[in-house]
Amino acid sequence: MTISGRVIKVSDNISTDHIIPGRYFHLRSDLEKLSEHALEDVVENFHEKAKGGVILVGGSNFGIGSSREHAPIVLKMSGVKAVVAKSFARIFFRNAINIGLPVIMVDTSKILEGDEITIDLEKGVLREKRNSYKLNFPPLDIRIQSIIDEGGIVNYIKKHGDISFEV
């Protein structure tokens, strides 16, 4: 599976409070509306900018904070096709996989705002359009990749009836 898109770049330690601020707590059962506010305290007009598909690139510890799964959901709904970061907060990483949002761990220092990049998930390669850089990352564990391939853990369990590490 390959993913292509324009980069929106953010800093280290992007928290779930950044992704969905607590003041929109009441919108958690209206994900469409909640997604209009995704990352609004970090990237001006993020909702508009992400429309049509982007790749969100962070620094270290992306997704720090709450267990609120609404965070990766609203990113995905806003048009984020994958999140690339130096490292991820544990719960965010697992939540993203469970909802079928690819999360890629690689040194993001070279990636700049506005770059057009292509990611090959199986090969573990991230490439800038004009080949000004090519980054390798370890592909996801095959068991985890199989969850993403099914579009998330709910679909996975509906298809297989159970969770299992046999693939």
């Binding site: 059962s29 270290s60 469970n98 709910v154």
Partner: protein
């Protein structure tokens, strides 16, 4: 082979050897959600098309984040969760009962349990010797539906806490010091195992320390289950729930650290991260507008008691709002009986119903533009308390009480208690 506490907990479930890095599927002992993450969990559970919960008696819903509800949308979420509780026969703790983690440790979490909650501070249960960790709504839906989930066995870091806790030093000062050492992700995907002279650390301080293990990325922060644990469980009429848990002496850790309790000072996390922390005594020029005493970190009886000791017969500084939220109904009642609430109200406090209140910025104490809060909760992220144009500092209840009196961040050692 010598074992860590994490290995012992998982091996009891699997009846076979486990080592860090292994991915295993194990049954869980307790699953819970709160009103922020619960509606999504139950919608995902419904999508799984399971007719019933795997363990309804071990599944709990807590209405604590927006309690009482400030908006109709949240009231509707509450209706949905109450409906699901009665339809599926799980436990429901309604508005006013208190914060999920506090009720969980008072009544539900046992040593050796594997506990998963749709709230990142579920790791509080580690203080009782449980493997307790936060997950997202879908993972919790899977746990509710299948009664099990997959775990990657984390590596463990041994944290030796040695010596005696000095007067004025609390679990909050210890854990802020630990988080400062690791940074926001220095222990990501790993378990913190506390050891050393832990018999000197009371249960309420252990709970605060475990609660904030997630703030340096840890999956769980586990204390041994010892005499202190037994006493706590017995005090809560849970004589049957005690089971001793200790790591083997020569268990393998990926790192070993020592924190000398005598060297810990009153600490404050400064905006906008928990790991950016300084000594309280070096922040005395920071003027504050609001003090929040409460939350799953520091809203326990001992926390209110220590604040009251400092505030007795004194008044909160002019222009400072002191908001107090007992962590549970039991905490509230005990504080009433002990006269703590009277002291706090007399000093100028507003008391709110048990719950999460101001911590998550939903209601009860939203900050105004450029306002500064000193809170005993666990996070000071940008916008956390409802306004991205405000500033949150975190401290112990003693530092919070001292600061409420002076109107500036104040080292509590300046006061006699």
């Amino acid at each position: 082979m010598a074992k860590t506490m994490v290995q012992k907990i998982f091996e009891r479930k699997t009846e076979s050897d486990v080592s860090p890095g292994m991915m295993i599927i194990v049954p869980v002992d307790l699953v819970y959600v709160q009103d922020g993450t619960g509606p999504l969990s139950f919608r995902q559970f419904e999508k799984l098309e399971k007719k019933s919960l795997a363990f309804p008696e071990n599944t709990a819903i807590f209405l604590d984040h927006a309690a009482p509800s400030p908006r109709k949308e949240l009231s509707n979420d509450h209706i949905y969760l109450r409906t699901m509780a009665s339809k599926l026969g799980c436990k429901l703790y309604d508005i006013g009962d208190g914060v999920c983690h506090q009720i969980a440790i008072e009544s539900l979490v046992r040593p050796f349990d594997i506990v998963v909650g749709a709230d990142s501070h579920t790791c509080t249960g580690g203080a009782l010797g449980a493997f307790a960790t936060g997950m997202g709504s879908t993972d919790i839906a899977v746990s509710m539906g299948l009664g099990k989930n997959w775990f990657r066995i984390p590596e463990s870091i041994l944290i030796k806490l040695t010596g005696k806790m000095p007067k004025y030093i609390t679990g909050k000062d210890i854990i802020i010091s630990i988080v400062k050492h690791f940074g926001s992700n220095g222990a990501s995907y790993q378990a913190l195992e506390f050891s050393g002279d832990v018999e000197n650390i009371p249960i309420h301080d252990r709970l605060t320390i475990s609660n904030m293990a997630i703030e340096c990325g840890a999956k769980v922060g586990i204390f041994p289950s010892d005499e202190v644990t037994r006493e706590f469980l017995e005090k809560n009429n849970r004589f049957e729930d005690f089971k001793e848990l200790n790591p083997d002496l020569d268990a393998e850790y990926i790192d070993r650290l020592e924190f000398k309790l005598e060297e810990i000072e009153p600490m404050v996390s400064v905006p906008h991260y928990v790991h950016t922390a300084r000594r309280a005594k070096n922040l005395k020029d920071i003027k504050i507008n609001q003090v929040f005493l409460g939350s799953c970190t520091n809203g326990r009886l001992e926390d209110l008691r220590m604040a009251a000791k400092l505030l007795r017969g004194k008044k909160v500084a002019k222009g400072v709002r002191l908001i107090v939220v007992p962590a549970s109904r039991k905490v509230y009642l005990d504080a009433l009986k002990e006269g703590i609430i009277e002291i706090l109200v007399d000093a100028g406090a507003s008391i709110m119903a048990p719950g999460c209140g101001p911590c998550v910025g939903v209601h009860e104490g939203i900050l105004g533009d450029n306002e500064v809060a000193l809170a005993t909760s666990n996070r000071n992220f940008h916008g956390r308390m409802g306004n991205p144009d405000s500033y949150i500092y975190l401290s112990s209840p003693l530092t919070a009480a001292a600061s409420a009196i002076t109107g500036y961040i104040t080292d509590p050692r300046e006061f006699d208690i």
